[in-house]
């Protein structure tokens, strides 16, 4: 697929801008702070409904205004689809809205899958060096790009988690009394439904029993939605792994045994199997989450947060025997981050039989000349590539020569050739 047109109104630094696009390479050249990333951020937002730079929508709307609009015309197999997104931050305009070919979508989420992008930016070094949350976000975003329906599961999981944490906090005093009761010492390894330990003779006047029952109910919800999310992530990891090793080697021109493995918050035995690459059945994951929750219950009630589930997991990146985090050199870290994005690209390309749009934001300047040239060779056959750079010399000429170049100066976008 490719974008034929990208336009924005009151998005970031732009009162308005239009960018006609073609298949092949488009390069945006401009000094720092001129608005290059703002444009490709808009393209990424059309695909993912989120920014690669910030978690909230507020900074995306031009200062002093309350509504940004992004429009894009997506061409796939000769068919054109117009996506229009309204990002609203002012209270008066209500929520964000989306339209597809001018008809309103019931929810913005319904546009997911219309445009697919893979975006690589300097921030991606955080995939290697940053917190587990960055790697989880990488997986979940790829999951949604691959199959949009996971966006629903993802958001359900967040909701369950919020509810469960709210309960752990608000009911902590009552729950604490409850877990000290003798029947709570029942074997923590049981995989039975976890209300096993709770008094069966329910007295709705007993606050403790009530709170424990309510917690059990949210355990069930967490296990049900969490198992789906975990299962999806594990299958994604399995499919992504081979592409990653290959992409890493291509970028670094070496045979390096770069690998990813999933680090789960479940109990040891299951976590070990998963780390070794096993993809258990969804039901098994469900039961295991319940049992793992049971095992940490006392601790959770003490701390008032949920300690088991996909939100506590991580992806371990390793090179040979060593973890990348803390060991990899700067260049190796770049190769890994780039390898992950290129692997995502290849996975989507093979899965969907269609190229997503590759976006490379300011990355050539970060790479040594070897990695730069190999990256250029790798992306040359992509249907559409959007590149930003401060100086024309940063972009390998094999790429810039064949495509279109725009100059971006203080929010003005002008064709340069």
């Amino acid at each position: 697929m490719h974008l034929r047109q990208l336009s924005v109104v009151d998005f970031r630094s732009y009162p308005s801008a239009e960018l006609p696009l073609k298949p092949g390479v488009t390069t945006l050249i401009g000094l720092n702070g001129q608005g290059k990333t703002n444009l490709i951020e808009a393209a990424g937002y059309l695909a993912t409904l989120g920014s690669h730079r910030v978690a909230s929508d507020t900074p995306l709307v031009r200062a002093g205004t309350q509504q940004a609009v992004i429009r894009g015309v997506v061409v796939r197999d000769g068919h054109e689809t117009l996506i229009e997104l309204e990002i609203n931050t002012g209270r008066a305009n209500g929520r964000n809205r989306a339209r597809l070919n001018r008809s309103p979508a019931a929810r913005p989420r319904d546009v997911l899958g219309t445009l697919r992008t893979v975006l690589f930016a300097p921030e991606d070094l955080g995939l290697v060096k940053g917190d587990p949350s960055e790697r989880r976000r990488f997986l979940d975003e790829l999951l949604v790009t691959r199959q949009p329906r996971w966006a629903g599961v993802r958001s359900d999981y967040d909701k369950v988690l919020k509810q469960r944490n709210a309960l752990l906090k608000s009911a902590a005093p009552v729950l604490r009394r409850g877990v000290r009761r003798p029947h709570r010492s029942s074997t923590p390894l049981s995989t039975e439904p976890m209300d096993k330990g709770v008094d069966k003779s329910v007295d709705p006047n007993d606050g403790t029993v009530n709170a424990l029952h309510t917690l059990d109910v949210w355990n069930s919800q967490l296990a049900m939605v969490g198992a789906q999310l975990l299962y999806a992530r594990l299958r994604l990891m399995r499919d992504l792994g081979p592409y990653l090793s290959e992409a890493y080697d291509e970028v670094s021109a070496a045979t390096s045994d770069a690998r990813i493995s999933y680090k789960s918050s479940l109990r040891e035995e299951m976590a070990a199997a998963i780390a070794a690459g096993a993809v258990p059945e969804m039901q098994a994951l469900h039961d295991e989450i319940l049992a793992s929750l049971e095992a940490v219950r006392v601790n959770e009630i003490d701390r008032g947060i949920s300690l088991v589930g996909p939100h506590r997991d991580d992806v371990v990146l390793s090179l040979g025997q060593l973890p990348a985090k803390g060991y990899a050199s700067h260049g190796e870290s770049w190769s890994f981050a780039l390898g992950l994005r290129l692997a995502a690209y290849q996975l989507l390309r093979h899965d969907l039989g269609d190229d997503p749009i590759l976006i490379l934001d300011d990355v050539f300047a970060e790479l040594d000349s070897g990695r730069r040239d190999r990256l250029a060779a790798l992306v040359a056959d992509c249907e559409q590539v959007l590149i930003t750079a401060a100086f024309p010399g940063d972009v390998p000429s094999v790429l810039s020569d064949s495509g279109t170049t725009y100059r971006v100066t203080l929010g003005e976008v002008v064709r340069a050739d």
Partner: protein, 199 residues
């Protein structure tokens, strides 16, 4: 911002559920321009509803007497109880004409974020109604979203020791939704295909 009373009206309207600031403004100006008889009728409807309508002592539905129309209707089947979150859900289920039993309105769903726990719902009242053993099936028709599901699971576990069937409306209802917005056909089908809740 508008002058005194107009802004007061907009603010009051804006506090109603589902009415954003823009709609509040539109309604306010509609009322300003409306015939004063129309407005009087609206006002008396508002006053009357507060004076006359109360909640059914049996099921918690809105009622104009001690018991609602459904609870006082002798033709209703006493062996079924359909548990819903709000009175508006009773209306939605009634529209399907699929259900001839009686209702129990919980007054919400379990939602720790909003500080709503089982104690805040009419669950004790439900247990009291079930005590004499006349009811043989409880159909849990809470909303098909996370809070509704959680409430259904809670009830299923709570009722398990009792000698009755606990069922949940069949899926097919739009997930993440409000029972109220399900169309009659879908909701009707969900009733026919209800499943026993496993716990």
């Amino acid at each position: 911002m508008y002058e005194g009373v107009v802004q007061d009206l907009i603010d009051e309207l804006g506090r109603l559920p589902g009415v954003g600031p823009k709609s509040a403004q539109r309604i306010a100006f509609h009322l300003l321009q409306a015939d004063s008889l129309d407005v009087t009728r609206l006002v008396s409807a508002l006053v009357e509803v507060k004076e006359k309508v109360r909640f059914c002592i049996v099921c918690g539905n809105v009622a104009e007497a001690e018991q609602c129309r459904i609870c006082s209707d002798p033709r209703r089947d006493l062996t079924y109880i359909c548990v819903v979150e709000e009175p508006k859900d009773v209306v939605a289920v009634e529209r399907t004409r699929e259900f001839r039993g009686r209702y129990h309105v919980l007054g919400g769903a379990i939602s720790p974020i909003e500080g709503v726990g089982p104690d805040d719902l009419r669950i004790k009242e439900l247990l009291t109604r079930l005590a004499d053993g006349a009811v043989t099936e409880v159909i849990v028709a809470t909303d098909p979203n996370l809070e509704g599901e959680a409430t259904a699971t809670y009830l299923a576990r709570l009722l398990r020791p009792l000698d009755l069937k606990v069922t949940r409306l069949a899926s097919g209802l739009p997930v993440g939704g409000d029972l109220e917005y399900a169309d009659e056909v879908t909701l009707g089908r969900a009733f026919e295909g209800r499943r026993v809740l496993d716990v």
